[in-house]
């Protein structure tokens, strides 16, 4: 949703040196940290674990209930795929509203990613290398859009598409335009952070070897930016599929409702585990994108990081 940090991308691509013990297996870590006689880390360990449980268990339970064979969302009556495919009326597969929401969510996040990322990458390159008149304002506007709370952007976009650009009107097009605006800053910021560590030597070398400016960018800069581009694409995808406010205010009826909108509309009314199933499918899509993203990221950054830190650095990108 709206919450965003400017800090994350700044976290270094290579893993920072860990302060804790590095070598040895789980037993060693356990001995050093958990059974630490000084007690403080032990308390912290417990606290962190409790936090993790508190943070993730409710979601795990919600996922579990999506497989309930009964109608209840509080008592488990056996496991089945009833709410995914089995139920001929109310399952995600058979209920056109739920199926439509899933399709719309996937469509919006894919299209947003495909458009926002190239736009953002170009913007990042431009802002990084172009120091002329107007670049400062451009940069400021982009950063401002990044920290503007989503409700402010959602309401103002709603007004634009109903009062000013009514030719476009509400619906998929409006949702897409709004989401791209909201997400574009991610690739800009992540790619710019990466550009800082690259420098201009590579392009200069390429040009010395006779490459044109376009070729220099295409053949040297872009490949080096690929991990950052990829990480930002994953981020945009994961963020868009969860988006609620903009997608809701710019939707035009059942055909353009996304999964979070369905959850919001029905969470307090009569709900079957089909809603949990729908939410689980969304979770699955995001996870799939993130895992795929991680694997590609690990492949792309193979040469430049130390062993075992792919997860750290990928996580730092997110």
């Amino acid at each position: 949703m709206t919450q965003r940090t400017l800090d994350e991308p700044a976290a270094t691509v290579a893993a920072p040196p860990a302060a804790g013990p590095r070598s040895g297996g789980f037993a060693r870590w356990w001995r050093d940290v958990v059974r630490n006689p000084w007690g403080k880390p032990r308390f912290l360990f417990l606290f962190t674990m409790l936090y993790m449980i508190w943070s993730l268990a409710p979601v795990a339970i919600a996922v579990l209930f999506s497989f309930n064979s009964g109608r209840s969302r509080s008592s488990l009556q056996g496991l089945s795929l009833r709410w995914y495919t089995g139920d001929p009326i109310d399952s995600v597969f058979h209920d056109p509203t739920l199926r439509g929401a899933l399709a719309q969510s996937l469509k919006l996040s894919l299209l947003t990613t495909v458009i926002a990322v190239p736009l953002g990458v170009a913007f990042a390159l431009g802002l990084d290398r172009w120091r002329g008149r107007g670049s400062g304002s451009s940069n400021f506007l982009m950063l401002l859009s990044f920290v503007t709370p989503e409700i402010i952007m959602g309401v103002s976009l709603f007004i634009v598409f109903t009062k000013l650009l009514s030719l476009i009107g509400l619906g998929t097009n409006a949702q897409l335009l709004g989401l791209i605006t909201f997400e574009m800053a991610y690739p800009v910021i992540i790619v710019r952070a990466r550009l800082l560590s690259i420098g201009k030597e590579y392009e200069e070398a390429a040009m010395d070897l006779g490459a044109s400016s376009t070729q220099a960018v295409r053949l040297t800069l872009l490949p080096m930016l690929l991990p950052a581009i990829f990480a930002s694409a994953m981020l945009v995808f994961a963020d868009t599929i969860d988006d609620f406010i903009i997608a809701r205010y710019l939707s035009a009826g059942a055909g353009t409702e996304t999964i979070p909108i369905r959850i919001y509309d029905t969470a307090r009314a009569t709900v079957t585990p089909a809603l949990n199933a729908l939410a689980t499918l969304m979770l699955g899509s995001t996870m799939l994108a993130v895992v795929a993203g991680f694997l590609v990221y690990r492949y792309l950054t193979k040469g430049e990081r130390r062993e075992g830190t792919a997860l750290d650095s990928f996580a730092a990108q997110m």
């Binding site: 940090t5 013990p21 993730l56 605006t181 200069e204 919001y264 075992g308 792919a310 750290d312």
Partner: protein, 321 residues
């Protein structure tokens, strides 16, 4: 498409070199052209909407529906509706005043609690995560990948009268009868806000704490400072920036939150500013919604700008170091 343009890149570079001007290697239009699509986009779909919202907030109202009629010409702006919104917010007995006070109270409590819970977690992972740091970090980030509304839905399930939380408490004989968590209790809502937003607090905290050089802490310990002293005089001051970042990141969207209230309470006694905006937007009173958004923007502009200023300064300091 522009490769054919004379003079050739090599010639240009030679000329640049001759001028002793190493930096200029690209045509003047080259990099600006990368910025143009993004700039145009953001002007049309970010800046223009701001103007549109002003035109509605300072506009008039359609006589039949009572819906907003924007006034595009600033010379003809009409401040009656906005004055009404301001009065209702700031005057004693004003309509929106309770919701504003409530929102500020909830946000302060929720942000404070997020910090108190989040700091130890971030600290532990940054300092003692060791080889499991990556895995722990994934646990921290996982909520980013799970829809906020799904996480609230999970709690709606758990907090039902016959939900697992009540069942659990009843089994332990901690309560005699089910607690109606969802009937409009402010603490359920604040709990929801903390639960929903805390990952966004922990991540910048982690990033900040992780950046602290371990040798500084060792030096402090070597010089005889106690753990507590080291924490108070080294770690905490060094993480000030991260605390500030986390606070603002969590605070900004919380001020516009309406869905947490709608899912976990839905009572008018817990209405927040976001709810006022949402209600007005889904009614003929879009003018009032726009007025409230303008007001909220004014209220949040300072923290937004301060955040941008602070991160920018920090970045400059870091790249200078």
């Amino acid at each position: 498409m522009h490769e054919g343009a004379a003079p050739s890149a090599a010639t240009r570079r030679r000329r640049a070199k001759a001028r002793g001007d190493e930096g200029i290697r690209y045509p003047r239009w080259f990099w600006p052209s990368f910025s143009i699509p993004g700039t145009v986009w953001i002007v049309v779909l970010f800046l223009l909407p701001f103007y549109a919202i002003l035109s509605v907030a300072f506009g008039t109202i359609d006589p039949i529906f009572g819906t907003a009629v924007p006034v595009w010409n600033p010379l003809h702006w009409n401040f009656a509706s906005f004055g009404y919104v301001m009065n209702q917010t700031f005057l004693i007995g004003g309509l929106y005043r309770p919701a504003f006070i409530r929102t500020i109270t909830y946000v302060v409590i929720a942000v404070g609690a997020s910090l108190l819970i989040g700091y130890p977690v971030a600290y532990f992972i940054a300092r003692y995560g060791g080889r499991y740091k990556g895995a722990l970090l994934v646990g921290l980030i996982a909520p980013f990948w799970i829809s906020y509304l799904m996480r609230m839905l999970a709690w709606v399930n758990l907090l039902q009268d016959d939900g697992l939380v009540n069942k659990f408490l009843l089994d332990l004989h901690l309560i005699g009868a089910p607690i109606h968590w969802l009937d409009g209790k402010p603490y359920t809502l604040v709990f929801g806000l903390i639960y929903g937003y805390i990952p966004y607090m922990i991540l910048p905290l982690f990033a900040g704490l992780d950046r602290i050089d371990g040798s500084l802490l060792e030096a402090s310990r070597d010089l005889g400072a106690s753990r507590t002293r080291t924490f108070m005089h080294v770690t905490l001051p060094l993480s000030k920036q991260a605390i500030l970042a986390g606070t603002i990141i969590v605070m900004l969207p919380m001020f516009g939150d309406y869905y947490t209230n709608d899912l976990l309470s839905k009572s008018p006694t817990t209405s927040m500013v976001g709810n006022l905006i949402d209600h007005s937007l889904n009614s003929p009173q879009v003018t009032l919604a726009a007025g409230l958004v303008v007001e909220l923007t004014i209220l949040l502009l300072l923290p937004m700008l301060y955040y941008l200023y602070a991160t920018n300064r920090e970045k400059r300091l870091r790249s200078a170091a």
